[in-house]
């Protein structure tokens, strides 16, 4: 029984923590929004462009055998779609033009929580994550769970950014800096996520409450000190815990595991299919790939114009 996890860089946190996840996981990964070009062909999720096919093939060779260049839909028991634009950023964006009555200032539009939720539902459904999930849903009846990327790290509130885009992002999030405001708004976002998923006959797992402070992710779940976007291994563990509960609710039973005294890793009991572990997954390769992307971006930004 394999669960396919599809996503962008936000999938790393889950990968880091999947040692205790009771199901075998296979990964389908490409950075940014590359996966927006996926298609289903002959019962497989594959790149819809030459470029994406090449990228996926390269990742698969580079990162290991449980990183797939394509996913055969019938071999997966469930699909998890991570990140890919699914983010509380839409909440921040909406909150720059509308406000709830208790935060409204001069010249701002007051809306009800229901109306804000409606705005978010539409926005979330337009994300790449939902497009992929919709594509999967059109082609199979297996459980599909969408998982948003984490809210920005709380360190982003005070960090000094050199890039204009990052500074704009911080400005976008400013109305949500206040923890009380964030605490009031996040449940609306979570409801919207659930409703958006429901519309498409999907399931959703929101960011675990324990990892949040207002509308930001607690610093202890930060992937790296200068990374204000990605979650750490412990963040991934929280999400996988929530996913496990969700998958069990959907009706897929977790294989019963027991721990050997010599190995902290869990092994299947009663001859169940052993979860495929990540021995061939090179986390450092993935981290290096992310670092290369960052460098490339920095080089691009520092080019003389």
């Amino acid at each position: 029984m394999t669960i396919s996890i599809i996503g962008n860089s936000h999938l790393v946190a889950l990968k880091l923590a999947d040692g205790d996840f009771p199901w075998a996981c296979s990964y389908f990964w490409s950075s940014g929004f590359n996966l927006r070009d996926v298609i289903v062909e002959d019962g497989k999720l594959v790149g819809g462009t030459k470029r994406l096919r090449r990228l996926l093939a390269e990742q698969s060779i580079k990162l290991g055998k449980n990183v797939q260049k394509e996913i055969e839909l019938k071999t997966s028991s469930a699909f998890i779609v991570v990140g890919l634009g699914l983010s509380p950023m839409y909440l921040a964006r909406a909150y720059n033009s509308v406000r709830l009555f208790n935060h409204v200032g001069r010249g701002m539009t007051v809306v009800s929580a229901d109306c804000l939720e409606e705005i978010l539902v539409a926005q979330l459904r337009s994300t790449t994550a939902f497009k992929i999930a919709r594509l999967l849903r059109e082609n199979c009846d297996k459980p599909i769970v969408v998982v948003p990327q984490p809210a920005p790290m709380e360190t982003a509130k005070t960090a000094v950014f050199r890039e204009a885009q990052q500074r704009r992002n911080v400005k976008l999030w400013q109305p949500l800096f206040d923890t009380d405001v964030g605490e009031m708004l996040m449940p609306i976002y979570v409801r919207a996520l659930a409703r958006a998923a429901d519309y498409e006959r999907l399931n959703a797992v929101a960011q675990p409450e324990a990892t949040l402070t207002g509308a930001f992710t607690r610093v202890e779940y930060q992937h790296a000190p200068d990374d204000h976007k990605h979650g750490s291994k412990s963040y991934g563990a929280h999400v996988l815990g929530a996913l496990k509960r969700e998958i069990e609710i959907i009706g897929i039973e977790a294989p019963v595991l027991e721990r050997s005294s010599s190995d902290s890793r869990s092994v299947p009991e009663r001859g169940e299919v052993a979860p495929v572990r990540s021995s061939l997954w090179s986390l450092s390769a993935m981290a290096a790939s992310l670092a290369r992307m960052r460098e490339k971006k920095a080089r691009f930004l520092s080019r003389p114009r």
Binding site: A94, V98, F101, V110, V111, A113, D114, E118, I119, A122
Partner: protein, 360 residues
């Protein structure tokens, strides 16, 4: 001596005019320039007017625009895009007058926050938040913002288009506050000690509209009015009469008020949407099978008659649908059903549909 009827236009004679009622039934009294700021309000039929004029490129004011990225389908659910502000349906002249006076600080409605379970509703526009709001405080804040929007409209309006819907209403005995729905239809609790049924008569409606005109023209002395009567029959009556008799009474009174206003004031024009849809000549073909809801053809026929008279100045656009629909109207007059747009217009938001649900 010749008869005074000799030499009159063909439109004056039933035999010649009834075969093609859409043609020449409406003659505008004044021009509406595309640059004019239009404010729309009224019963649910008025939503069609606002929508058509917007699509036609008229400058329909919108003091409470749809929040960015709220999909259009959801917008009307929250009272956006229906009228020039989120006042919801305004069925009676008294309700309109009350709103304007409240916006200007001359009236304080009473007992206007109604509860349903743990949710709170603005009883003066109970349909604009389908699930109500979380607290009384929130309802008050939303109303405050709404009244500010209404005030802003009064500073800009050039042409106010209002559709009279009903003569019947429910009001609070002590303060005279009128509501668009009876308590308990959407929210609230009906207490006969507090609330009473009222069926406004000609004089009351006429005088209420005179005050509305005065308030609007106090700020915008050149403001003009286009008034219509909704062709939609009553869903229910609390008058003790049969609902058909109550409908005929109500529409007759409203039509008489509209006629009187139009005859009296140069700045008030009556647009006969009622006649175009409910008149004998259409043989009820502009109504759905329930003989209440207006078909898309009916709306198109009425609106085409309107826009054919108010073609945007300098525009080469000839309203094609006006001709097509005129043809359909001829069909209707001959007793056949028209062929275009048979689908129901489900976008119109009517509180009184709830009454229908209650009657089952």
């Amino acid at each position: 001596m010749t008869s005074p009827y000799v030499g009159l236009d063909a439109r004056a004679f039933w035999r010649s005019a009834a075969s093609d009622p859409a043609r020449d039934l409406y003659r505008k009294k004044f021009d509406i320039h595309p640059r004019n700021s239009l404010m729309t309000a009224g019963s649910c039929f008025a939503q069609h007017i606002a929508r058509t004029l917007r699509h036609r490129g008229y400058n329909v004011l919108d003091a409470e625009p749809v929040p960015p990225t709220l999909p259009e389908a959801s917008a009307s659910k929250f009272g956006y895009n229906l009228y020039s502000a989120r006042y919801g349906n305004i069925y009676t002249a008294r309700q309109l007058l009350q709103l304007l006076r409240e916006a200007l600080g001359r009236f304080e409605p009473q007992n206007w926050i109604w509860q349903k379970g743990d949710r709170y509703f603005d009883a003066l526009r109970p349909n604009i938040e389908p699930n109500g709001l979380a607290s009384e405080e929130e309802v008050i804040a939303h109303r405050k913002a709404h009244l500010e929007a209404v005030r802003s409209l009064l500073k800009k309006v050039d042409v106010f288009i209002f559709t009279f819907g009903l003569t019947e209403a429910w009001r609070e005995k002590e303060s005279g506050t009128v509501y668009p729905t009876a308590p308990e239809t959407i929210a609230g609790t009906f207490d006969p000690e507090k609330f009473e049924f009222v069926n406004f008569n000609f004089n009351e409606i006429y005088n209420d509209f005179l005050l509305v005109r005065k308030i609007v023209q106090w700020r915008r002395p050149r403001a003009k009015f286009v008034i219509t009567v909704s062709p939609v029959p009553l869903t229910a009556t609390a008058s003790d009469d049969h609902v058909l008799a109550a409908t005929m009474y109500s529409k007759s009174v409203l039509r008489a008020v509209a006629g009187q206003l139009s005859k009296t004031f140069d700045d008030v024009d009556y647009f006969p949407s009622y006649e175009l849809i409910a008149g004998h000549t259409t043989r009820a073909t502009y109504y759905e099978n329930n003989l209440r809801a207006v078909t898309a053809d009916g709306v198109a026929a009425a609106m085409s008659a309107f826009v054919s008279q108010h073609v945007a100045e300098g525009s080469q656009h000839v309203p094609e649908e006006a001709q097509q629909v005129a043809g359909n109207a001829r069909h209707a007059a001959r007793g056949s059903r028209s062929h275009i747009g048979r689908k129901k217009d489900r976008d119109v938001v009517c509180e009184d549909l709830l009454l229908d649900a209650f009657s089952r």
